[in-house]
Symmetry: D2
Subunit: 400 residues, 4 copies
């Protein structure tokens, strides 16, 4: 049996950290003894625990120790260790892989906050500070943090104060009273406005199919959205609706697409690209309404990421996925609230790039999208299973 003592601090109960830590020890085949535990006396007080971990082999102890580290545990007495990247995009094998939790690195006895926090990145020293950098963008020779001592994460704490974001996370249901949740989201949007945090929208084409684009365009016009992260499809559907006035590709009786209707999609792309892209299409008067129109008029930051299933694409689309990822990262700077609407692909992509501290809501007709998002680590996301058109109309009413 080998032993190690670790400590954890924070809202260990409310944030479900202690339970996960206990579970991890046992799952990996170890045992624990609680040496000390001071629970926060009141809602706002942090707790503190000192655990002795025992394991049958050093390998298992290491694995437990690393697991607890990802939950915020610290055994760190020493400084963090670094090694240089072998080549561009090639890390030393012992690299530390980040979470989306706020992370601290001990360098020369001093604790430094990691910048650009996001999950599944390397931690690289750039400009004198530790920074989360996606694997592919690490340069040869840059100092890469190794796993082991000197690194600590701070899992997001569910505030004991009462907000919809504190209680809902991970509890996905199609049967909640959505009005209450949408009211809570509207409150959070107002708070983000006051705190001068950015409100980010991740948008999928079902927004247009469901007719929610009208409410969304008004929300954009009213200044509620700072950043739109999406792909070619949503933008094109929205532009097509403005350019062709009537939605020719849809049967007016059944509301469904008809054979040959996709020509309108290509037509819209062609017309917008001829005008030089979305901005040009707005300036030239080709596009006079819709979400894209309002976004351009309002100066909303718009990033379109390419996908292999795209038609066209629009000139504005960043077809290189690594470049698109970078552009998303940049646009997410300063985000305080993120609404992911009806797009599995872009929602998961953005979840990968967001610090866990950003309040996040994922709206989809299917339980499987928020479930996947949470399984992939974006555990802060509230899942709201509903029609996105309905969501947007209600949200507008709440904010109006």
């Amino acid at each position: 049996m080998v032993q190690e003592v670790v400590t954890m601090e924070g809202h260990l109960i409310d944030s479900d950290i202690l339970r996960k830590a206990f579970g991890r020890v046992v799952e990996e085949g170890g045992q624990f003894e609680v040496l000390e535990f001071n629970v926060g006396k009141r809602n706002e007080d942090p707790s503190f625990v000192r655990l002795e971990i025992s394991a049958p082999t050093p390998e298992i102890l290491d694995r437990i120790s690393e697991g607890l580290n990802y939950l915020g545990a610290s055994s760190m007495v020493g400084d963090a260790r670094f090694a240089p990247a072998e080549q561009d995009g090639i890390l030393p094998d012992e690299f530390y892989s980040t979470t989306n939790f706020d992370t601290f690195v001990r360098v020369d006895g001093k604790r430094q906050s990691a910048l650009d926090q996001k999950m599944d990145a390397a931690l690289v020293v750039r400009g004198g500070a530790p920074r989360c950098v996606k694997q592919a963008q690490v340069k040869k020779g840059e100092q890469v943090l190794l796993r082991g001592p000197g690194v600590r994460v701070k899992p997001p704490e569910r505030s004991r104060g009462a907000t919809v974001f504190g209680f809902m996370s991970n509890d996905i249901s199609a049967e909640t009273n959505k009005g209450i949740v949408i009211a809570g989201i509207a409150r959070a949007m107002r708070e983000a406005r006051e705190a001068r945090e950015k409100i980010v929208l991740v948008a999928g084409p079902a927004i247009v199919h469901s007719g929610g684009d009208l409410a969304l365009a008004r929300l954009v016009k009213a200044g509620w959205i700072d950043v739109i992260l999406t792909g070619n499809a949503f933008a094109t559907h929205d532009l097509e609706k403005s350019i062709l006035k009537t939605s020719l590709g849809v049967c007016q009786l059944s509301g469904r697409a008809v054979e040959g209707g996709n020509r309108n999609h290509l037509f819209a792309i062609n017309a917008v690209n001829r005008a030089g892209g979305i901005g040009g299409a707005v300036d030239s008067g080709l596009v006079t309404s819709g979400v894209m129109y309002e976004a351009v008029k309002k100066g909303v930051k718009l990033v379109l990421a390419g996908s292999i299933r795209d038609d066209g694409p629009l000139k504005d689309v960043i077809t290189d996925t690594v470049a698109a990822q970078k552009a998303y990262v940049e646009a997410l700077q300063g985000a305080g609230l993120c609404m992911m609407l009806a797009s599995a692909l872009h929602s998961i992509a953005v979840g990968n790039l967001l610090p866990a501290r950003v309040r996040t809501v994922c709206v989809d007709m299917s339980e499987s999208v928020p479930v996947k998002l949470s399984n992939r680590g974006t555990m802060q996301a509230i899942g709201l299973v509903t029609d996105v058109g309905f969501f947007l109309e209600r949200l507008e009413a709440e904010l109006g």
Copy 2:
């Protein structure tokens, strides 16, 4: 090789009958030759086809023949054959099993329409006429139609005239423009009103969870609903909301149920049962709002069928499922339009009892409910995948 000649008549193309007939012959291992085919010249004209079917064995020919019969084919020259039920609920083995299509039986050279058309029933001579009777309700000695000659069905014809019900059926998608479809349903409701056909509502508890009960109560009050077929859960949720004013079982922050919250459900049942049931609860002033309240006030026909997962149940619930099925059948007399909202169990149950000619819409958050409904034979149902609360609010706006 054995042969047989059959004829079919009607909107064989529009109603997709001829394609299914061709498919059935080939699937079963036979071949066909089209001896004669007159296609309807214009939208409203019927077509006529005479087919020669060949099969390697008489058994296969019989199977094909029976299959085509279910699609409306007729080889009938002779009269229908009957045999007496052996005991109460026990049919002769050669019994004919009904579809939900209009059915005609040739007796003494004369064609008679089957009454009480519904699927998966026996056809029994009662009061001198052929009548669809569920197996369990056939009495010993009653004359039961046998499969073979003298019976013909008429599949529902999708009118070439343009209505949402003609085109949408079987095409289920979460991505249609629901506004168009809902507008079409509102039109059909107005037509049903004018034709003095009943409008039937099949209701599930998600109507209350989603907040759609408010719009529904107004629709009931405005006289849009003639019959409500549901179970214990929907009625209780609705009554609980009226009795306890605030929904105590739901957290006002998260919109989710809380531990112990189900007590309110039991409390409502207890209070209503003490008052003698739903009618008594309305009369005594215990219940003063909601769908049940408006239904009682308006004299809407209300049938509550029991289920093994019920709490309580309410006194109004028919706990015997065979008796409940009978009560549903009776309430469905004269139905012209059926809306199935957020209830898999009751929707499938009602689909089993409805003639295919009744326009039917199935609204659910999950594609799987309308898919199941269609797979079980209620092929006339339009599937609308959306939030039922949204559906009801929109429907009210369209009808208002």
Copy 3:
């Protein structure tokens, strides 16, 4: 501000009780102060907490107090209070509504365990002991437990020992490695065998559709199943397959049902009922294979509950849902493990009747069934999203 002191004991961290308790206080508008907290030192040790709850009004304090009580908190110094049932099936308004957690009632200063633990029942003194009785079955004048002092629940504790049931609960995903989970279930079945606990199967018709009936019949024959709780549909599909040898109602090319195919369903019911029911059909040689056959041969307890969507039904079906619920309850006595396979209706029904301490797994193709089950309070159920045919074949291989 009003105050109250409550205590809780058990695996408060592992079982996620303390977090829920803190959450409940804050959600309802109260505050708490931790007066004392002793955390269990090792895996197997219980924890203890003493909390002071403050609330702005006595009503809120009562609500918090009742909520905490449902989480196992106790402020009980006094004895439980009782009042007589007003009429058959009518409770006093202050009745206590049960959970599925083990419950203790203090009577004359002594703690008594509630019998027949199940959720959403009244607690009635029968035969000198407190017993969970469904509302409808309470008799006039029986002493009914009231909410308030003298009652305590013990939430199921997730053992820190390592089993698949300890960790998986509430974590539903279509993307787990199902082999590992199925192996864990097989282990739990062996343990249940050794502990002489009953293994209960809740079965839906998709078992037959998916072809899993073959593996299931072998499992029944091998003695792995003690009780089968199902409805008319599963039994009939299984019997039809045995009686008609080939599945005539299914196209052998496409695997799908064909028009008229449902006749086989009715034929099977008719033949079995003529033989006097399932037992008679086996005895007479009509049914010679399948799950029902093996169940009869093995003396497996079989309960068929009626539903309004049933054809027939089979003579064995209990058509009264209240009677069926009673029969389910009786059959569940002594259950140690419950497998719910592909049946939303019966799974939720059984969940309503099971103590939370029974290890439960819910297998379905759709995430929505285990999600609903958990939302309705059967939180102990592991959700496994997979093809039930595949599940059964794997399970058989693991047990073989």
Copy 4:
């Protein structure tokens, strides 16, 4: 009223073309008269129809005419019209947008087959022949086919001969007997082998999660797969499993991912990229098993398309989505059968690039993926709702 006469030829009934044509006329507000109709006498004979279409305005007639054209109707007496592309990627506004049906263009009185058939492309004269070219790849000055006369499509005909692909399409259900369908797919694979057509696999990561990778690797080794179209995630999961031997990122008790487990994913990418990519990783002995390993050993064509949600990515990934689309197109040359397994993104992408004549099966745990695929025009795809691991094991057994 304006009129036009069109003709259609082929399996107009079996392939459901005539029904769609009638529907389209009426939906758009027109009327039709059947001037002549010769139905195919036997299974293998084509039918012929001559329709007179009437419409209230020339615009509506044009729209109907174009709609019918997409269903294979021809009014073509004249030659096709062309106009030059204005710039690279900018088409003349009247461009013809392709379907995935075989397409013929009349040039100088002669009918020419379009090459590289795929949907939503322009038809451009290249190398003297009409060729389907995605919008973005049309070069300035190339002659682009305009809509109007001289173009005709041939919708895929569902063979009246009996195969699983003929009957299943568009009929998606979780409740079919999958064994029958999988046997049919195995037959089609054998036929493709004999016809020397390529078998294409579109692969998603759930193949690995579900444990189906073992069966798939054996299928690849046995030579059943010619082309694998996938993305970074599937390849990495497969490589990770080979490199790290045990799946360290997954809890061995629960089968679920654990905190920090994603490091293994990044580690695998890092190690493979250091070795120069997948081929290098196999050559160097780093990767010694799995689907990627067998694919390299067998010389299977492997194309990895980038997505914005990728980690890494692997060096083999084509990060530019337009380039990746081109590479997919190239790899699809000669495809006779396409299996889309558990990947919504890549399945829809490939559906966009496949001629409708390629037999296609889409396997997913959720009905929504095959529904989407069909709604987006890949109507030939059979939807099979099941666990992909189960599918692969069964398929291997059928082929073994």
